[in-house]
Amino acid sequence: MMRLRQNEIVDESRIELVDISDAGAAIGAARHMAAAIGFEETDQYLIATAVSELATNMIKYAGRGELTVRFIRNEERDGFEVMAIDSGPGIKNVEKAMQEHFSTGDSLGLGLPGVKRIMDELYIESRSGSGTQCVARKWRDCDA
């Protein structure tokens, strides 16, 4: 199980992804949530881009899944959290997927490392053949 959360969830919204057009809903929800947390416009866009990346990946490789965007809070600060769960084929080699320009599909292979760069934290748990769970967080006023 992914490391247990020590953060309080202030608000969350859940998006079911079954079709690439649902990515639009995920992007919208992410932007909205980031704005509610108080991120600046550029950061809102960056967060939406990272969420878009995760959503696109999920639909491309797993066909469907679920994405939750959250407003989280701990004693020190507020932040944005996205959790993506799918029961697709899983990522064979998470370390490799995190490398620049590594892609099993027909893509640039910049997605996951890019998400890691945009967000402050990224955790991926995947078992080949039984799905993937990604959690990414970005804290407000935090220079990672």
Binding site: S21, E66, L110
Partner: protein, 269 residues
């Protein structure tokens, strides 16, 4: 509430509780910590088409055979692990018949607060799924008609891009553009991405491909609508647009296109 009614409510017994659950018009069941079914109400039995005696003690995943069964997506496991109620959409497979459902799982505790399993109820969402499908088709239609190629000037074509760019849409954009280039013998194409929801690596990939194809047709491609946020996200994602000309606004892009074509816009004296 009268005293008499209060007493009878307090006296709610196991029989009454079972009756209530059996007549609740949606499947409800509970499992122990080994995911073996310890209770299932009548609608649940009817859904499976089985007798209660045959159901009790079986693992829930052997009977349901849903997409989430025995995967990290199983909300029953998640609810038991996190101690929180979880809701998700799923599809169950009963005798080869797929039914879309939305199910809610919650941890099950005994009187001492010990976790003894989980409980779940499911709602048939066939209708909802059908409506969503219709909506999706409509949004796709909107997307299809929202990629117009506009001849702005002799030899200059503008393609405003709005919303979400997926591979199907990118193909359409590519086709629209290439056809337009052929029709109008355009020398410059401006791809305006101001209205794109998010430029992630997949979108950038499509844009790069489109610019390459236009180049092959002997046409220059300028990407406009590079807001500070888009520029920053491309840098973060490590995307190199190579030698693709970019501009922050459509206005600048048009100015550049005029310059490239040795055109000058002058105020009349």
């Amino acid at each position: 509430m009268t005293d008499k009614k209060k007493i009878s409510a307090q006296k709610m017994n196991v029989d009454l509780a079972t009756q209530v659950l059996n007549q609740l018009p949606t499947p409800v069941f509970a499992v122990n910590n080994d995911m073996e079914i310890i209770f299932m109400n009548k609608p649940g039995q009817d859904l499976l088409g089985m007798e209660l005696d045959d159901i009790l003690g079986s693992h829930c995943y052997t009977l349901m055979q849903s997409h989430h069964c025995e995967t990290p997506e199983c909300r029953m496991q998640l609810a038991r692990e996190t101690g929180k109620t979880c809701t998700a959409r799923n599809e169950i497979n009963i005798d080869g018949r797929l039914t879309p459902i939305e199910y809610t799982a919650a941890p099950l505790f005994d009187d001492n607060g010990e976790l003894i399993g989980g409980l779940e109820y499911a709602i048939d969402i066939t209708e909802r799924v059908r409506d969503e499908k219709r909506l999706r088709e409509q949004s796709r239609t909107i997307q299809e008609i929202s990629t117009p190629a506009i001849s702005l000037w002799d030899g200059i074509v503008v393609l405003p891009v709005l919303g979400v760019v997926d591979s199907l849409r990118a193909k359409q954009m590519m086709n629209t553009m290439l056809l337009k280039i052929k029709e109008t013998s355009a020398k410059t194409i401006i791809l305006d991405i101001q209205g794109v929801a998010a430029v992630d690596t997949a979108v950038a990939n499509h844009l790069i491909k489109i610019t390459k194809a236009t180049k092959l047709m002997g046409c220059r491609c300028i990407i406009s609508g590079m807001s500070p946020a888009v520029a920053e996200s491309l840098v973060h994602l490590g995307i190199d647009l190579g030698d693709v000309a970019t501009n922050s606004t459509l206005r600048d892009a048009l100015g550049d296109a005029f310059t490239l074509m040795s055109l000058e816009v002058k105020k009349t004296k």
